[in-house]
């Protein structure tokens, strides 16, 4: 049947990861920062599944399940913390907490 061109999928995954990375570094809204980490997760997941398809086994997909689990746990904890921080300073600005810098 058709051949599978791994490098195209790797390029898309890399581009999505880098876009998320740039967003995490530049955006100052805490919620959007965590949204950008989810973008990075997506890029990694594309890569994992592409490699699983390339090697013709299921390990990549099984790993993506665990990535999803960690993403869900991270989102719930991070959003709880964001709510807590917002109640305290009434701002979602990450720079409002720059006094936590060591």
């Amino acid at each position: 049947m058709d051949q599978f061109a791994l490098e195209q999928y790797l390029a898309v995954g890399a581009a999505m990861f880098v876009i998320g990375l740039i967003g995490f570094m530049t955006r100052r809204n805490l919620i959007v920062m965590f949204l950008c980490t989810e973008l990075m997760f997506q890029g990694v997941a594309i890569n994992l599944i592409a490699f699983g398809r390339y090697h013709d086994n299921l390990a990549g997909q099984a790993f993506v399940i665990f990535v999803l689990v960690i993403a869900a746990a991270e989102a719930s904890l991070a959003l709880g913390l964001v709510i807590l921080l917002f109640r305290r300073r009434h701002s979602l600005d990450a720079d409002a907490w720059r006094d936590m810098k060591g």
Binding site: M1, D2, Q3, F4, A5, L6, E7, Q8, Y9, A11, V12, A14, M16, V18, I19, G20, L21, I22, M25, T26, R28, N29, I31, V32, L35, C36, E38, L39, Q42, A45, R53, Y54, H55, D56, L58, A59, G60, Q61, A62, I65, F66, L68, V69, I70, A71, A72, A73, E74, A75, G80, L81, I83, L84, F86, R88, R89, H90, L92, A94, D95
Partner: protein, 291 residues
């Protein structure tokens, strides 16, 4: 036809210099796109630059790859939608729109998963991300919404300052696109195509099926699966514990605390039988709700 002759590697589909140049162009475009309070035409030029770089990459790749490889036209459609939406997630100043564009990215990624014979993971991605995680994000965005100021006609009206101005956009785009250039050079400049050799035959009958994936996980990854369930439980307990804590606000805005909403003498312990009384702090008023 590819790598048939081991001595004669196929030419790389993207030459290294082109990768570097396109990364520089896309970096400049992303820098102009990032929210900085600039004029709209300036941001439009940035968007055109990013789109042009992406299209040139796609054109070079299409010319190099044989047309049947990698899902054909659907691959290009899904990746174009996904990457465009991802850029909009990063560059849109309004968080709600960022979340909605992220939903679009999730759907496009699910389409790519289907092309990669991972149908179950595509469904799980849509259910978990678009269904559960995104709803949580939208709830938090609405909970933490700032007060809108008037019906202004300006496009950035009612936005907080931290949404309009981004932090170190030049440095971040430089670092990001340097990373992307290195990754693309590693992927494309290795002197040959990474087209799979083994699976050029027809896919196995159960490729991508939920049954095959379940059998694999429950036989080979059982401990990891149980551990991931444990992680989810622990994070749920942690999120509940974090969210139920009441903290005092630092800037004097009234925030109901346990002491202000329960009458004096009402035990504010964890006893489920204690009756909280809302709205009174006067001990001479009635200290229990009427029925």
């Amino acid at each position: 036809m590819l790598l048939d002759v081991m001595g004669m590697a196929a030419p790389a589909p993207l030459p290294g210099l082109a990768i570097l140049l396109l990364c520089v162009v896309a970096g400049v475009g992303t820098y102009m796109l990032l929210p900085s309070g600039a004029e709209a035409p300036f941001r439009k030029i940035g968007g055109v630059l990013v789109a042009a770089a992406g299209l040139i990459v796609a054109a070079l790749l299409v010319r190099a790859a044989d047309q049947s490889a990698g899902g054909g036209v659907y691959f290009w459609i899904f990746s174009a939608i996904g990457l465009t939406a991802a850029v909009r997630v990063v560059t849109h100043p309004r968080p709600v729109y960022s979340a909605l564009y992220f939903v679009l990215t999730v759907f496009a990624t699910a389409g790519l998963f289907v092309l990669e014979w991972a149908q179950f993971m595509a469904a799980a991605l849509v259910i978990i991300y678009a269904g559960a995680i995104l709803v949580t994000y939208v709830f938090v965005i609405m909970l933490a919404a700032q007060a809108q100021t008037g019906g202004d006609e300006k496009p950035l009206a009612g936005l907080a300052e931290y949404d309009i101005k981004s932090r170190e956009p030049l440095l971040a785009t430089a670092v990001g696109f340097a990373t992307l250039a290195v990754l693309l050079l590693l992927i494309f400049d290795t002197g040959g195509h990474l087209v799979s050799q083994a699976s050029s035959s027809a896919p196995a009958a159960n490729a991508g099926s939920t049954q095959a994936l379940g059998t694999y996980i429950f036989t080979n990854q059982l401990v990891s699966l149980e551990l991931s369930g444990l992680i989810l439980t622990i994070s749920m307990v942690g999120a509940i514990m974090i969210a139920r804590r009441r903290v005092a606000s630092e800037d004097g805005v009234f925030e109901p605390t346990v002491e202000s909403v329960t009458a004096p003498g009402t035990p504010d312990d964890d006893n489920p039988h204690s009756i909280p009384v809302y709205g009174t702090t006067n001990p001479r008023q009635k200290s229990f709700p009427e029925h």
